[in-house]
Symmetry: D2
Subunit: 286 residues, 4 copies
């Protein structure tokens, strides 16, 4: 789809007259063709959000000077903004522990081009899933963590992430809590899957909590990681029906299918620059 | 469907060999034909649950002596058990405040025979919905409640419920908390609809809470009322997708449709004697 | 929500550079503030679709001359376009036969402002639902139809629709097929609910067809009426799970809840001018 | 769950008094403990269906003579019946073409014990997926088929299926139509996944058909293969929402996730002997 070279602007600012006009004018006056545009206004706070994408074929400004050229408009409206290019292949690191279902799902979807990213490396606190990494030909690193060595190990992980030029981190059922410092290196770029319908059942063993509560539906939630456990901005959620006939094992099994769906959808939206974060919530353009 | 006269046994007891045999033998040896049988064993606690329904046409025991005849089997297995008859029309009271959507839904479904019950009376803490009651020809009583007069008013409500020979109470968005004493008169016979996917967003203004949390799915939960607010055994839940585009008004509107579905489904299951309560959870037979 | 006076432009045309710019410029240069903008490009045919809404407060052009002022832009890009005003209350006629569930649902949602329209009249081929119309205070007309008098009766119906200044017709389980001529008076303005997941089970008794096929999910479809039976552009669909335990009566009952949801959602989208028709399909903006 | 040795009876016959009693008596009188029992009566045809499972620990009849001992009861009620043992590991063959998503999903679920079967071999009409088979250590056979050699190739396939002692065949997006003769060797034991919400969009390119029709929801259907293409008894279906924004590629991508879910659920039910076929429909016990 995005095989063509296009530019993507993500914008948020106070809502004022003329924003759309000025952005459209910037693109049109330099001979760009808008291929996609989404916008949203948060009425409570009067904040305007936009994602606009245009074809760079024939665009009058060189890619490396577009940002500079757009700066005056951004300045005029005090925009928070990001500029991305569809042809810039993002690089993803996957963090795992012992469960393989989400890892496989992302690896296969990346291989088939359904999520457009290079899985550059896999980091784990266990050796368990090394064979999978080898099969897919992806570097695999193990950092076992204790309370004592956690920050030290994270430092090594950060070095690897840096070496591999990582844009985005996926916690594919990674059973370790990242430190506040670690998280601060990748704000809104670490995507977690939590196996409950948040905010219900935060923390450990959510399926067991769901079972104890006798809920009739279970869910999974993908969110950006912040320094508050399981409380970062929610990107995607989905659910599946359960009943009294489902044992905890059944719930876990059913949940795994939902976790995969939710995590890969969230990752896809993130990689397509369709997610904006505001007030600990997300705007996710279709 | 259940136009025929049938008997329904609801049983729970410790799981032992021979329960099914003894129950089936009781029915068969008196010339009954089983039309429906559902059972479940809770493996953790080793508890057996059963709902068995048989045609009374040609059954050798008179209806009013079936219970007595079954008693020895129940005694042998220390059963908790209930005996119901499909032709016994249950009588329901609906409690409402100002919102009409759930009230209308139940009244229409009762009228069309989709939930098999007589709506015997409507009780409210406001005059607002009186016209609806009149249109459907159902007695309507108003008891305004303050902290001071609550128990006194509930006493009057209990008298009415008694006068109308009520089997089952539906709180159709009734915005008052019932006292522990009131609830104790109708254990597992008061059905509430809470407008969230419990246990998330207990208490007041759950849609506002959902909006603040930026969840991507909202839900509704129907449960039996206990003396712990919004924590009784869950009978039914359902959900609907929302997005950043949905204002609180949109969420409330979408939620109302789900509330109706969930409440009427829970009521229907209850009236068909398909709900068993155990360990603050429900077994809901299909 | 749309209590403010806003203008809504619906546009479709061949995709070319500058469309968004020109429309945004038209609004901005006359001091309008865009409150909502959605667009879509059909890549197969290269067709561009847009719905743009702007606040009329302070807009430099009088409402009754906006169309004229916009005409040159529309001409330049050979646009199909419509201009609507949010404060223009649309008038809806509901056609029914004997089933009341969809009728009640729309009447209640209109009353509560959830679908923003005046239900101006109800037309039926039976007397059955007259009481409901009276209760809601809405004129009710009966035109029984035979093969012989159909066109004649439709002529009378068209007169009434004209007298009541009807913008939109809802077939709320109306069990008559409208003639090609009748349909031609309200192109893309007659909304039907069909009780199947189209294109499966067109025509009569779709729930019986679903039952015979042993499907595990049933659905409902709301679509614009064209002269091909049950084949007009689909606006909305939804589904519900069924099983071998569901009799035809159960399927009908479950289906009715879905029909209501689907029809009211489709009507709401239509009334908000969020539906565009193209190539017998719809673009439905969120 | 079913680690214990249990016996499973699947029964269908004309509904008569005493069936449940006689079966329960058979089990109880030989000291068996029922762990699960499900039954259903098709009211139209008066047909009774049952799945009953009991613990063999302490059961008074040897496994290899249970069938013989049950025969008189089966004879008395003219039952169609099957006897299975939970510890008998079933052997599955997977047929694939070039698409890998369903293959991976089943292999991983079998490996994790989520579907209880040995994947004994993989058969394909292409070399494409050989590497996957090797990675999982499963024999892989290629039989390319032309109109001319089809029956001949199928004969070789049948030999392999025989050699590998195959109980169940899964067509995991196998793009060949099996001959009537082939199908007759495995009645109700060949499970296909069709990438549409059947009966809509039978045959080739269902996602393209869905796209052309502008449906708002797409689905997948798993069914037993019969000699009528895509018309065998439906075991499981599920759906996912699409919109005008979804290209055919998007629809295919979304559909793949649903195909996996539906196929693996159907296979799981089949392997647990929870599916009964009657009148080209299925009874699927929970």
């Amino acid at each position: 789809m995005h095989s063509k070279d296009s530019a993507i602007l993500l914008i948020s600012c106070s809502d004022k007259k003329g924003i759309v006009y000025n952005v459209a004018n910037f693109i049109y006056s330099h001979n760009g063709n808008i291929v996609r545009s989404d916008q949203h206004t948060d009425e409570e706070s009067g904040t305007f959000f936009m994602r606009i994408e245009w074809d760079l074929d024939g665009f009058a400004i060189q890619k490396n000077t577009i940002a500079q050229a757009f700066e005056p408009i951004a300045f005029k409206y005090s925009m928070n903004w990001q500029l991305h290019f569809s042809t810039k292949r993002q690089r993803t690191a996957i963090f795992v522990s012992k469960m393989e279902h989400c890892l496989y799902d992302i690896l296969l979807k990346a291989k088939e081009g359904e999520v457009a990213t290079d899985i550059a490396c896999i980091i784990s606190n266990h050796e368990s899933l090394k064979t999978i990494a080898q099969y897919f030909g992806i570097p695999f690193f193990v950092f076992t963590k204790t309370k004592e060595n956690k920050l030290q190990q994270e430092k090594k992980e950060l070095e690897i992430l840096n070496d591999f030029d990582i844009d985005c981190i996926v916690l594919a059922r990674y059973m370790q809590i990242l430190s506040k410092d670690f998280v601060s290196h990748y704000p809104n770029r670490i995507i977690n899957i939590h196996h409950s319908f948040l905010p219900a059942f935060k923390g450990a063993k959510p399926y067991h909590q769901a079972y104890q509560h006798g809920v009739k539906i279970i869910g999974a939630t993908s969110h950006y990681v912040t320094d508050l456990l399981d409380q970062g901005p929610i990107i995607e959620q989905d659910v599946i029906r359960v009943s009294h006939k489902d044992s905890i094992d059944d719930i876990i099994r059913k949940g795994k299918d939902i976790e995969k769906l939710v995590l890969s959808r969230a990752l896809k939206k993130h990689l397509e620059h369709k997610v904006l974060v505001y007030a600990n919530k997300t705007i996710v353009f279709d």
